[in-house]
Amino acid sequence: MKDQIEGYTTADGRKIGAVVMEMKNITLRFGGVVAIQDISFDIREGEIRAIIGPNGAGKSSMLNVISGFYTPSEGEVWYKGSKRPPMKPYEVARQGIARTFQNIALFEGMSVLDNVMTGRLTHMHAGILPQMIWKGKAEAEETANRVIAEKVIDFLEIQHIRKTPVARLPYGLKKRVELARALAAEPTILLLDEPMAGMNVEEKEDMCRFILDVNDEFGTTIALIEHDMGVVMDLSDRVVVMDYGKKIGDGTPDEVRNNQDVIDAYLGVQH
Amino acid sequence: DIYAPNLSYRTGPFAATGIPLMNGQKDYFTMINERDGGIGGVKIQFDECETGYSTEKGVECYEKTKGSAVVTQPWSTGITLQVLPKTNVDKIPILAPGYGFSPMADGKVFQWAFNTPGSYWDAASMILKFISEDNLDNLKGKKIAFLHLDHPFGKEPLPFLEAKAAQHGFELLPIPVGLKEMQNQSAQWLQIRRERPDYVIMWGWGAMNAGAITEAVKTKFRMENFIGTWWSGHDADLRIVGEDGKGYKSISFSRPMLDAAVQADIKKYVVDAGKSQSNPEEMSGVFYNRGLVISMILAEGIKSAQDHFKVGEINAEQLRWGLENLNVTEERLAELGMTGMVAPFKTSCADHTGHSGGWILEWDGKAFVEASDHLTPDSASIQPLEAEKAAEYAAANAPWPMNEECK
């Protein structure tokens, strides 16, 4: 195993830092259903961490626990070295955790630009009065954050649809806008729930490019759920495998690929 | 032409009671125009502006008509209250026979408003007189439930009734009926059953009347002790309960006189000419006939103004004078072919009501019949109250112009 405290360097020379988030013995129940059962794993600074597993394994639920949407029935979440007290999802977001959703959750009534700007909301603090008269802090803040939003838009190559209402966009672009919204928050950890579902190879390639660039250029830590093994194996530094709420594997892509439990439960045919 | 519009309500939740009144009013003027070619040779243009009893629409109608109209007939206490302060500025008389704000009787304060020939306080006073057999002290220790629409109209007689209760030692139990509960008054009638009042006095309107009467039948309240105001004595409301409603009473400032000469003229000039919307059943009812009386009051006002100012096409200010100087005597009623349909009355600068008094009508299972002699309100005790409330109103709406000419 790799050094638990110091971090390590990946094959292609990237630095992976210390543990930023650690899930300790998480259990999550819905009435009688146990969606997650006593799972522990960690996420290191700057890495791409994949979570895989069959449908209904509890992957999304795990992401929901991380982002504070579900409160675990048991277990602890450690973030940046301290135990996270119970908090509302918006407080978690303000701590620097941003995410995308399995079934796109964009604000359909707004333009792309506005959607991306909502990602900046955690950084905007002008009072109601200045906002009303559109002067002073409100105006300055608006412009400053607009610059950042535009940067993200440029980065993800969606300039041309900046003013389009998102409801009219095709699926793939919506996914990209969702990524843009999450990125605009300049998060420490970015959680992606099946960012490439329903895309063809070409589009997946684009998406991979963005994810890698985000990871590289901003050093953002990424946790990602994905069913396309090609993507997972190529992109991620370490992979957690879940099955029926239990953890059945954790390690580098190669380790996971050769884990018999994982092959039986999930991969089926050898890839 | 003289433009005398009517703010009618043939629609909405109160249409049932509104329609026969509107028809009566309208038929009367149609008859006058057909038979006499109008009043003093000038035709009366009696148009309707529909309000649906909605105050908002009423104000709209008022605004629309006030430019050329000589009178506004708001037909709801709510609309009356709304336009009352505006009339001082717009200089147009309000004619609100038997409704509106009781202190309008005080002509010094309310120069432009007329509730001829009787106010709600008149009605309340006469009801009390009737049940106490003309001596209010007989009511001592009795309990009277006051079932009323929870609306300015229903609350109007409260100050008077409260004053009387205090003075004569009877217990007054106000029971409001919300606009949405008009059809389902079981809670109110359960309260009546629990409280066992000696009498129930009702200030009901529209669907509330029928609702109350059916509930009264159901709870087996003694119909003889159930008396309504003059807007609660509508034949159609009682027809719903028919025989079971026998004994129910209502005060009225008007009486249907089916053999009066005016009826024959209306039949001849209006109904037979196909100019009426009324059906025969409603034409024999209390409300239709009251409509005739109301139009007659307006017509008399116009006539008295014409006579005084010696012009045919009088304007609003002249009509105000006319309404202030009405003198409907027994003889005049005979001339009009309306003997007995209303008691004689007379208005003046200071008295805009005329206080004609009225009769108690009783439902005999099929129709309303007279059940009392002519009653008169206790003006001596009403007037000070009127003066007081009118002064309060004027103070609240200062600066309020007074008519200094009256004494």
């Binding site: 292609d12 259903v33 597993g53 069959p54 449908n55 209904g56 399995q102 079934n103 009219r168 966009l169 095709p170 699926y171 793939g172 672009l173 099946e194 579902a197 329903g198 895309m199 063809n200 190879v201 070409e202 589009e203 997946k204 390639e205 684009d206 991979c208 490019r209 890698l212 660039d213 069913h227 093994m229 090609g230 993507v231 190529d234 992109l235 999930y266 991969l267 089926g268 045919v269 890839h271 | -």
Partner: protein, 278 residues
């Protein structure tokens, strides 16, 4: 690596004939710009293409579901067994034997799985025995559904919902199933399982399929014939085997370069634009 589909069936009667169809949403958004395709009897036909290419729109145009989305077919013709179904309402089209399984597993979330399946019987004449028999058949194809028959569909997993949707369509005893992105969001082995069932249904029950897919890899393995749609136009079509060998398809849809599958890590460095699109 995989078991390729059997060769296309010999009977080549065309069941469904879509000819030069144009679709406009909301009176302004032109989405299909003249799409033509044919679905032969007993075949599995794949409709491939990127996001927003118009695959779903094409299927909805056929099944008559466009109308409820403020879309309409403004040009071209759609025929099923040589009869126009262009203006028929969805129920009539189902009765003719064409049923769509919608993208995103639209199950009736408050109905139980079994009730969901039974709604599929709606267009058929009520016959208790037949209904029970067909239900049994669906359960034999999808044993997992039998286990979950009493649970509310909204709480079942993604794969189960997809099975439920296909099973529901089977209850209508269709001749042709329009299957929209069955693989979306499903784990790899479930994808295999679903496609296996599709193949079984095709071979054993003789059901024809028109299959809209992003997952070109799987789709071309199971289909007999394929159409590639880009921006509302068919840009390429041919037998599945041929498409699989086409270099452009290989690069853009299968993610292969000349020397085998390329890593997603490498795509950053070099990207070629599609040739058939300007």
């Amino acid at each position: 690596m995989l078991d390729t589909a059997t060769a296309a069936p010999t009977t080549q009667d065309t069941l469904l004939d879509v000819n030069n169809v144009e679709v406009i949403y909301n009176h302004v958004i032109l989405v299909l710009k003249g799409v033509s395709l044919k679905v032969p009897k007993g075949g599995i036909t794949a409709l491939l293409g990127g996001n927003g290419a118009g695959k779903t729109t094409t299927l909805k145009a056929i099944s008559g579901l466009l109308a409820s989305e403020r879309g309409e077919v403004t040009k071209g013709s759609i025929k099923y067994r040589d009869a126009s179904i262009q203006h028929a309402d969805p129920a009539a089209i189902v009765r003719k034997g064409v049923i769509q399984v919608m993208e995103g597993r639209h199950c009736f979330s408050h109905l139980t799985v079994e009730e969901n399946l039974l709604t599929g019987f709606y267009t058929r004449k009520m016959n208790k025995a037949e209904m029970a028999a067909d239900l049994e058949k669906v359960y034999t194809y999808f044993p997992r559904l039998r286990e979950r028959r009493k649970s509310q569909a909204g709480y079942t997993s993604g794969g189960e919902q997809q099975m439920c949707a296909i099973g529901r369509a089977m209850m209508a005893k269709p001749e042709t199933i329009l299957l929209d992105e069955p693989s979306m969001g499903l784990a790899p082995q479930l994808v295999e399982e679903i496609f296996g069932i599709v193949k079984d249904l095709n071979e054993k029950e003789g059901v024809s399929f028109l299959l809209a897919e992003q997952n070109t890899n799987v789709a071309l393995r199971f289909a007999h014939y394929g159409y590639i749609l880009e921006s509302g136009r068919v840009v390429m079509d041919g037998p599945a085997a041929d498409l699989r060998e086409n270099p452009d398809v290989k690069e853009f849809y299968l993610g292969m370069s000349d020397d085998g599958r390329k890593s997603f890590r490498d795509v950053r460095s070099y990207r070629r634009r599609k040739r058939w699109l300007s």
